[in-house]
Symmetry: C2
Subunit: 241 residues, 2 copies
Amino acid sequence: MDRAKIRLCVDHPLGPGQAVPLTPEQAHYLFSVMREGPGARVALFNGRDGEWTAEVVAAAKKGGTLTCLGQAAPQLDPPDLWLIFAPIKKERTDFIVEKAAELGCARIVPVQTEFTNSQRIRQDRLQAHALEAAEQCLGTFVPEVTDLVPLRRLLDGWDPARRILWADESLVGPAETLAGLAPGPWAILIGPEGGFSEPERARLRALPFVTPVSLGPRILRADTAACAAITLWQSALGDWR
Amino acid sequence: MDRAKIRLCVDHPLGPGQAVPLTPEQAHYLFSVMREGPGARVALFNGRDGEWTAEVVAAAKKGGTLTCLGQAAPQLDPPDLWLIFAPIKKERTDFIVEKAAELGCARIVPVQTEFTNSQRIRQDRLQAHALEAAEQCLGTFVPEVTDLVPLRRLLDGWDPARRILWADESLVGPAETLAGLAPGPWAILIGPEGGFSEPERARLRALPFVTPVSLGPRILRADTAACAAITLWQSALGDWR
């Protein structure tokens, strides 16, 4: 069947004939903002069961119920890739989260570095941004956005089985090819405006699970570097192959 | 010498001892907004002669003069890559121009397609945006932004020696590798929200100089697709190798 235009992410199992309740916010969006009602077709996904076409069977001001009719798309999980980035200005941080969700990251980890401009983030707002990106781009998976964590503490507890691809802004030569890298769990690390401090750089260089990579001869903003690094990783090791 | 923090793009030759006049807008920015004056060091570039460190020797309300001291960075031209894209919402169009300038495109060509939302663009505003991206990212080259042109007319007069890499949103399978593509002049073509119309798609498919490419199994917004396609091209055929 045709995929429904309105897409909602729900926290509920999806399956044949499954009844799915709406939250007050979803009911408000669907019935007041979009002016839909009983009989309307909506696409639902929950991050596990793919996309389902569902029909509104009950509509109220603060809730409602849908019934799943059939699966419209299978579940598409991203590869085991995390994005670690230092939050920058609000709209560019939003942008990084949106692009990481679109390009296929499994987890988004904001880190505080010595030169990070922001001391705190609104984790709930960034998580909502990742969800919105999935809703708008026909995704069936929403990456988890974690709380802001100091880079030092993140590296202290790091599982060395997950390798880190470090977009090292001091390497302005030609980008190494990523084709030779080993498959498996990875994280991409993007620094803040102003880059990493010298102690941070020394620690990263010394870690055996960290691979520095250049992103070409031009200096890229952090949000551009995030897009470019995820793209290169996806085409070399991810599910774009 | 250390690279100056303030960077200006000028339309004037740069060389040893060269005197460079400022426009009224640049004088306003430098002397009123940034509160600089005689003796201040500024980085200048003109798109041809690299970056030069210059010193303010005369400051006035509507003008001023600098003298070039020495070259701080060589000229870095992008490869012969154009980006053709259908303008979308204002902030995302701005974003595409900024990212194309950062990632290294030589020319940016907005096209009108059957499903293009905007009927017109502010070419001067987009050109200023490309210049600002170069100024802020230590670039020495500013890609030309052309006027909006209908896709049909662009293809009618196309030089077949320049191949077109078409980000075909109907190809949602794995991205083909770009490594096998021939070097030479290229243009990347990104469609509007809603994609190309069936007649447009049929024409693109029939053109011998057009190569369709997939950007992975997820549906990408036009601005994300532009970033990803430029990145893949740069790492396969451009100056990121």
